[in-house]
């Protein structure tokens, strides 16, 4: 099959004429074969012109394979033989209409009308208003089975999502997660662009993964325009990415401690997360890393005094984080809560196509910084941090290992000169090209896919946040668990709602 598909790499554009137009049967069969051989379905999405574009991510070979196929109103669903396609097929149907026949649980993803004119996949009239969240949900029938519905409005200040548990007493049979409440239409808004606001929309695609999404976006545009940002900019981007990882992982470990009522780490990590956000702000002025990455480079450098100051603060934060997190992992009552709770088995993780921290916690060594390196990762080797049990403890431990690695990386990056030429001018995008940007954000790989038309404008822009792959993992982790452990399991994944809703 590899000779049929177009083989490319992360951040390298290919001309659309080199992307093969396969028949859908052949493409589906190839996807099933590749996925069973260890590849991951990175994208299965409409191109807006009646075709499906499929991206296979081969982590072992460091390759991305692309193909496309024309699709009609109906096609045989890929999901029964390739479960990780389930959400892509639902999304495709919602956006462009093709019905995946044989899909086991075929329903809308984000509660919006079809983008292109044509029949709705669920037979809804074009003038019928679509109310968010009003969808069919899975039900378990039987004596003593009861249903608990949580959200979309929650007791804490968190994003909206609806969780429907089928329970038998405290035991959860099944959890169904219904999102889409924050759908903003940022993919669609990028069409015809890049517009002046596109960059800002990508920065806000998932607010906690600003650097991850912005870098992936810049990577796509730079590939399409065939420019390379200066090496200093690559180092600064890597620094930003690792600081974002540090802030979020540290915050997550604190939140996990908070969920089991372990106060010391919850409080200390809450403050320490702020220290890392402030380091981000020291580079670019925004604690969330906005306004730093731009196509062609970055906006701000760091002179020697600033690097020295940042290194100093980094070392102080490292000392505090080490103390706080070691206390967490050395407390037996915490271990009793973390261990053997919310287990995702490796074969489930593979079948569901989990990515990032959740996947590495099942013992699979995948990390886009290692498997698909770009920029600073070409010179700086990053080894995936893995832990094998697939439970809450493993997901916490992977985060801790990554905190240690990232502290080391930032320390080394700050030792390099970080000023000089920061940005090269961006020419217009090459017409009729396709490019993929894959960046390992703190949650997992962020994939952006851009296609240009004959005028060099974007005809389709696809964003795949790691949360899109991983929400299913949370549902799997809850099978046969206690409903009271849901918040803990949820926090151990800590997935993005808006990154999924787009």
């Amino acid at each position: 099959m590899s000779d049929r598909w177009c083989v490319t790499r992360n951040g390298v554009a290919v001309a659309l004429r080199d992307v093969p137009d396969l028949s859908l049967d052949v493409m589906s069969a190839d996807v099933v074969a590749a996925v069973s051989a260890g590849a991951r379905l990175g994208c299965w999405s409409g191109d807006g012109e009646g075709r499906i574009v499929a991206v296979l991510v081969d982590d072992a070979a460091g390759e991305l394979r692309v193909a496309r196929a024309r699709v009609g109103d109906r096609y045989p669903s890929l999901t029964p033989s390739c479960p990780q396609a389930h959400l892509f097929e639902r999304e495709l149907a919602e956006q462009f209409g093709p019905v995946a026949v044989g899909h086991p649980w075929f329903k809308p993803v984000r509660s919006h009308a079809r983008w292109t004119p044509g029949p709705d996949a669920w037979g809804r009239a074009a003038d019928m208003p679509i109310v968010p969240g009003v969808v069919e949900t899975f039900r378990v029938e039987g004596e003593d089975v009861h249903e608990v519905a949580v959200g979309p409005v929650h007791a804490g200040v968190i994003e909206p999502g609806h969780f429907r548990f089928q329970c038998h007493g405290e035991q959860v049979f099944h959890l169904e997660i219904q999102l889409g409440y924050q759908h903003r239409g940022i993919e669609r808004a990028a069409v015809g662009g890049p517009h002046p606001q596109t960059l800002h929309q990508m920065e806000a695609a998932a607010g906690d993964t600003t650097v991850g999404h912005t870098w992936a976006h810049c990577l796509v545009l730079e590939a399409l325009a065939d420019v390379a940002p200066p090496p200093v900019a690559q180092d600064l981007r890597a620094t930003m990415l690792e600081l974002e990882r540090l802030a979020n992982h540290v915050g997550d470990l604190g939140a996990l401690a908070g969920d089991v009522g372990f106060q010391p780490t919850a409080s200390f990590n809450g403050r320490l997360r702020g220290d890392f956000l402030n380091l981000t702000a020291a580079l670019c002025g925004s604690r969330l890393g906005r306004g730093m990455l731009r196509p062609g480079g970055v906006r701000f450098g760091a002179d020697e005094a600033r690097r020295r100051d940042m290194t100093h603060r980094l070392h102080a934060a490292r000392r505090d984080v080490t103390g706080s997190v070691e206390l967490l992992f050395h407390t037996p009552s915490v271990a009793a809560r973390f261990e053997r709770v919310g287990i995702v088995r490796p074969e489930e993780a593979t079948a569901a196509g989990l990515v990032g921290v959740a996947r590495r916690a099942c013992g699979t060594a995948v990390d886009a910084r290692h498997d698909h390196p770009v920029g600073a990762w070409l010179q700086t080797r990053v080894d995936p941090a893995i832990c094998g049990e697939g439970d809450v403890q493993s997901r916490a431990w992977v985060r801790w290992l990554e905190i240690c690695d990232s502290l080391e990386l930032v320390d080394r990056l700050l030792a390099r000169p970080l000023d000089g030429e920061l940005r090269v001018p961006m020419p217009s995008l090459r017409p009729d090209h396709l490019a993929i940007g894959l960046i390992e954000g703190w949650r997992g790989p962020v994939l952006h896919l851009g296609l240009t038309g004959p005028d060099g404008r974007l005809t389709r822009y696809k964003v795949v946040d790691p949360s899109f792959h991983n929400w299913m993992g949370l549902a799997l982790a809850l099978r046969d668990e206690q409903i009271s452990d849901f918040p803990l399991c949820n926090k151990s994944f800590n997935l993005s709602y808006c990154g999924y809703d787009l």
Partner: protein, 317 residues
């Protein structure tokens, strides 16, 4: 023992009783303030003022309440019953070495079932809302409280064996005799104290049984039952919880603080003791994580077993 108090003039007894009620009513919220303050200190924060629970109560009492249309008078009964049962139970529980204002033979059964009555009313008012969450919390609360009772009664049984044959079986007598028997039965008393500390933590929804600070509905036990209460009703719920903390803590305190023979001094020592106990609860909450809900029964059975062993220990002497 209580002889000095019992022999005192009526007006002294009346003053002591008033002092007892005043301590319960006035001091209880301060205990919550102490817990929060100790936790804040452990977390490296300054924490809210010690009197914050009083400010909160004052705020809640001034507020309006939103009541779901699906509820009945049962919903409003819960918070009131919570305060009343805790207060009445408090009238029969001695504060440290200071005797309780009221006592009769067998009053300990009344105390145990006053707690149960308060819980029953809370559970009913939770079920009255018809919410899935509150039903879940109610079922948890009821299941766990069944396991708390044996620890309480077995502890009393251990102490009752020490009671003179002709002495009335009152809580005051029981706790006083326990407080004075540390030399003869240190092991048994230690076990009872251990069991009852667990009872205090469980009854008051503290870590490791429940987390009073969590906002996560699905993990809550007690808090989820009062999610629908607001304004003055929520104020009553919180006040009732504070009272219960004071009353259950004074059970433990009665064992730890023998009477000095001077009632006013005893009362003063008891107040100090309550504050120290609240501080210790704060420490426990700062160094422990919460148990898995599935393991809570195990911990409660442990408490009952400790009390049972103390019964055996006393019987063997």
């Amino acid at each position: 023992m209580t002889a000095s108090a019992a022999n005192a003039p009526v007006w002294v007894q009346a003053l002591l009783a008033l002092g007892h009620v005043a301590v319960l009513l006035g001091l209880s919220p301060l205990l919550l303030g102490v817990v929060v303050r100790v936790k804040a200190w452990f977390a490296g924060r300054k924490g809210p003022p010690l009197l914050q629970p009083y400010f909160e109560l004052a705020k809640l009492l001034r507020k309006g309440a939103v009541v779901s249309q699906s509820t009945t008078w049962v919903f409003r009964l819960g918070p009131v019953a919570g305060v009343v049962t805790a207060l009445v139970a408090g009238l029969f529980v001695p504060l440290g070495g200071s005797p309780s204002p009221f006592a009769f033979a067998g009053d300990l059964v009344l105390v145990a079932y006053l707690f149960a009555l308060g819980r029953f009313a809370t559970v009913l008012s939770a079920l009255d809302t018809g919410s899935a969450f509150e039903g879940m919390g109610a079922s948890r609360e009821v299941a766990f409280s069944c396991l708390v009772e044996p620890a309480l009664f077995l502890g009393w049984l251990a102490l009752a064996q020490l009671l003179a044959v002709d002495a009335p079986l009152t809580l005051t007598n029981l706790l006083a005799i326990g407080g004075n028997a540390w030399v003869a039965h240190p092991g048994a008393l230690l076990l009872v104290v251990g069991a009852w500390v667990l009872v205090v933590l469980a009854e008051n929804c503290r870590i490791p049984f429940d987390d009073p600070n969590t906002h996560l509905e699905l993990t809550m036990i007690h808090e989820v039952m009062v999610l629908d209460h607001s304004g003055p009703m929520l104020g009553l719920v919180e006040y009732g919880a504070a009272l219960k903390l004071a009353v259950t803590s004074s059970l433990v305190l009665g064992l730890l603080l023998p009477s000095t023979g001077r009632p006013a001094l005893d009362l003063g020592i008891a107040v100090g003791g309550l504050l120290v106990l609240a501080g210790l609860i704060g420490v426990v909450e700062s160094v422990l994580a919460r148990q898995r809900l599935l393991r809570v029964p195990m911990l409660l059975v442990t408490a009952s077993l400790m009390a049972a062993f103390s019964v055996a220990l006393v019987a063997m002497r």
